[in-house]
């Protein structure tokens, strides 16, 4: 009678598809790889250092937190910390100093994730939380955008110079930094200048799309990010609802106001190809933990991300607002999940049994 109790008891099903958390995380990392490599190419060795230090900090913090909570450190293998660090690195200024990188990785994992109990428990996207916290705390460092210096070009810094910049032993050379399109547009709008003029002189849509512009480490090439996102869609790692809703709502809102005034508002196409919209839509807003679970909920969530982002970009104090928008919608996610449950079989949308009892009783 007792022998059977020793067998690990577990209810059905006794079958499983071959999915695992680790596999999902690594798939997302793989989808990010092309854009990341391109970022290294554009911004050279300092970018690589930024990337590595953030990822390492994230993984180390994860291990530390697991150890502190008495959990198995081998759970680092689920690669979720790597992905958080990776996404964070993608959205950081490419030549960030070492302390900013370590701090970012630590904040994302420790405050963003492990305060709530680790993987799956957090309410805000850890990567965006760290980015926003740093942006508010260190506005100068977080908006130091270097011009592109492709590997092999004359202006690209060598290994020692890169290390020097990374460790802040030497300053970033004069003339290496500038304003992004969104930043310049914001300045122009605030200063009463014409955005149309600014765009016509200094910026090109095609280059913005391909990624020949300055910006965050991995966000510049919308093309490669989009490719990675589509690959994730094809592999069913993410669903189409959030990205499509977010891009469409951005496009619609930006288009509407662009029609109102070409001078005051930036063209919707620039909105889509600048900053981290693509990265946000395909990789950040789609974070499982902090986005709604039902299809309708996802649509609303995505549309909300796009709308809040546009509102902040157009009228707020920050030129680049993907982080704020995603975090704001993260805060609304529990409500969306609660209100927009999927319709259950045999029930209407409000949860009452449907009334199609059609068979008459034979008395």
């Amino acid at each position: 009678m007792n022998a059977h109790n020793e067998v690990a008891h577990r209810a059905a099903p006794y079958a499983h598809d071959r999915s695992s958390v680790n596999r999902i995380m690594l798939q997302v990392c793989l989808a990010l790889t092309p854009a990341t490599l391109y970022g290294f190419y554009l911004f050279g060795i300092p970018a690589l250092l930024t990337f590595l230090s953030i990822c390492l900090a994230a993984i180390a913090t994860e291990a530390l937190c697991l150890w502190l909570q008495g959990q198995s450190i081998t759970r680092v293998q689920d690669a979720s910390a790597l992905l958080t660090g990776w996404l964070l690195a993608m959205s950081m200024p490419p030549w960030s100093p070492w302390w900013l990188c370590l701090g970012a990785g630590f904040f994302a994992i420790a405050i963003g994730k492990h305060i709530y109990g680790g993987i799956g428990q957090n309410v805000f996207n850890p990567a965006m939380l760290a980015r926003v916290a740093l942006l508010i705390s260190f506005p100068v460092h977080m908006t130091t955008w270097v011009h592109i210096h492709p590997l092999g070009s004359e202006s690209a810094p060598g290994l020692f110079q890169s290390l020097g910049i990374f460790l802040q032993l030497q300053p970033i050379p004069d003339g290496y930094t500038g304003a992004t399109l969104l930043g310049a547009a914001k300045a122009a709008a605030n200063g009463g200048g014409s955005i149309a003029e600014l765009v016509a002189t200094d910026y090109s849509l095609a280059q913005a799309f391909v990624g020949q512009t300055m910006g965050s480490l991995g966000e510049t090439s919308e093309l490669l990010v989009l490719a990675g996102g589509l690959w994730l869609l094809k592999n069913r790692v993410i669903s189409w609802h959030i990205p499509v809703a977010m891009l469409v709502s951005t496009l619609l809102l930006a288009g509407l106001f662009y029609m109102v005034s070409h001078e005051q508002y930036l063209s919707p196409w620039y909105h889509l190809t600048s900053g981290g919209v693509m990265l946000g839509a395909f990789f950040i807003a789609t974070d499982y933990v902090t986005s709604p679970s039902s299809a309708t909920g996802k649509l609303i969530f995505g549309a909300g991300c796009g709308a809040v982002m546009y509102v902040i970009r157009a009228w707020g104090g920050f030129p680049e607002a993907v982080g704020f928008a995603v975090l704001f919608m993260n805060a609304l996610t529990p409500l969306i999940d609660r209100i927009l449950k999927p319709r259950a079989y045999g029930r209407d949308h409000r949860g009452n049994p449907i009334k199609n009892v059609s068979a008459r009783k034979v008395s």
Binding site: H9, R10, A11, G120
Partner: protein, 174 residues
């Protein structure tokens, strides 16, 4: 100074009058909560809670001197209803006493009918000089029968697990 005092007094009087009016308009008659609690309790006056009867227990629960899970016959369901009613955090409660069932050892029973008479829910069947048996469906585990049994042949045990009431345990998973 005088003006200030006057203004404040006037203000106070005015607001007080308005509130008095509101209290009349929005008056509610409430059923004293003790009655509500007592109505929920099993009412078998079994005394397993340590109080002389259900109404005493209800009073103690409302006062907060008795835990809402002190009633074994009511079980978990009653505990939850009471916790909701009295606004008690379920997690703050200790382990509840397990409901018990009486069983009569038929090798020792002499059929004296003492237990039969003591049972508050008529859960014991049998007649004089016949072996008695407990209907588990009606037994609240109050142990009144055990106390009166001269042969000491009644024992109280938690309800056994059978195929009918077995269910999967909560997984330990994250």
């Amino acid at each position: 100074m005088f003006v200030a005092t006057l203004v404040l007094t006037a203000l106070g009087l005015l607001l007080g009058w308005l509130l008095g009016l509101a209290a009349k308009v929005f008056a509610v008659e409430e059923n004293p909560i003790v009655n509500e609690v007592e109505a929920l309790l099993p009412g078998s006056q079994c005394g397993q809670c340590g109080f002389p009867g259900c109404s005493a227990a209800a009073e103690a629960m409302v006062e907060g001197t008795a835990a809402v899970n002190c009633c074994p016959p009511g079980g978990r369901a009653l505990t939850e209803t009471l916790a909701e009613l009295l606004n008690v955090d379920l997690n703050s409660l200790g382990d509840a006493p397990v409901p018990q069932l009486a069983t009569i050892d038929d090798t020792l029973c002499t059929g004296c009918t003492k237990c039969y008479k003591a049972c508050p829910t008529d859960a014991i069947v049998g007649a004089t000089r016949q072996i008695h048996a407990v209907i588990s469906k009606a037994c609240t585990g109050c142990s009144k029968c055990k106390d009166v049994c001269p042969e000491d042949c009644i024992s109280l045990n938690p309800e056994p697990v059978t195929l009918n009431n077995w269910h999967w345990t909560k997984p330990e998973a994250a």
